[in-house]
Symmetry: C2
Subunit: 210 residues, 2 copies
């Protein structure tokens, strides 16, 4: 195997290192975050740093970099305490990726890339109409990660919108069947195919396929 030390990693060319380190943890969830300022300007941004924090209450986190194109999204979230998280499918992954371009703050990425704002049940933040799974989220906490100046945004799931009959009898969502895609590194999008679903692991029983 090839061995790269920290010293060697730190000496890599910047974009090379960013690509490598963004790949090295494995596949990621990739979603579009929709926000709207109090003045009514909408914003749409792609993130791949989401993680599960807890199911009861339903809490999710993601990481933002305040010094980048995330700035509008961050400001809108802090201002309105509200955002949406929208899954990406193969039908519109190019439009989703294009939201990462550095548009001026008065340009809505919805218009710029050709995705459709959707509002329902009194939501202030826009959903992505083209998305198969949509979540509305309320900001609960903002944690400054001191070691590198990033920010962790913690939110509570207020609403889940999913296709009818897509939740299995035990609560499982088959994301492959729903068409949700995954992400490798900074710029690669992938479909998935199930190997197996396994029973709850116990010390004294063999695993079964579900």
């Amino acid at each position: 195997m090839l061995h790269l030390t920290l010293k060697e990693i730190l000496n890599l060319e910047q974009r090379y290192r960013a690509s490598l380190i963004n790949s090295v943890l494995g596949f990621k969830s990739v979603n579009l975050v929709g926000t709207k300022s109090t003045k009514g300007n909408t914003n749409l941004a792609i993130f791949n740093s989401f993680f599960h924090l807890g199911a009861n209450p339903p809490l999710i986190g993601f990481i933002m970099r305040p010094d980048t194109v995330d700035r509008n999204t961050l400001n809108n979230i802090l201002e309105t305490k509200e955002y949406t998280v929208n899954h990406i499918t193969e039908d519109f992954y190019k439009k989703a990726h294009q939201t990462s371009a550095g548009y001026p703050s008065d340009v809505s990425e919805f218009n710029a890339v050709g995705l459709t704002e959707e509002y329902k049940n009194g939501s202030h933040a826009p959903f992505v109409k083209e998305s198969n799974v949509q979540l509305s989220i309320e900001l609960k906490d903002k944690v400054n990660i001191e070691i590198n100046g990033t920010i962790m945004i913690i939110g509570e799931i207020k609403d889940i919108y999913i296709p009818e009959n897509s939740i299995k009898e035990d609560g499982y969502l088959d994301l492959s069947a729903l068409g949700t895609i995954t992400n490798n590194g900074l710029d690669s999008y992938l479909n998935t195919s199930k190997i197996d679903r396994l029973s709850y692991a116990k010390t004294d029983e063999p695993l079964n396929s579900l």
Copy 2:
């Protein structure tokens, strides 16, 4: 579409809710974390809450629940400041899943599930020999997430071990080609197939496939 409100989510049966909320953010990176106590007891645990924090320096995070089977892994990390992160392939996903069973603290999951400890370049924490991509990590910070009592573990990548010739000329790692699998919910494992890799998005240029 089906609409589930927070109130309805909170009223769901506990396991149903856990399965749903663990699926609803999309696919996740899933890895095995290897640790060893100062007394020499090894531990191996599966986690799917990893996220990228930064590339320079290379920092990664994941979420632990101190009141669960994570306890041994957490204690070892805090005690030794060292752990490994190991990708999972289709060859041993069942063994990886089986590490989540509630083994007594004097049992090494390496032995219990049949995976092989590997040590190299003076590492204290064990790698998983069967793994295609192995990282050694140094603990840098522990952040208590007050809202639900979880813990965010922040670490710096000290070493990367990957197959020879697997890094593309621009630093990209093709995880599908490497055999790394992804995860859906609490218990489902999947292969991936690339849809596309896209160029860096700019406001005034069309995207190209890389």
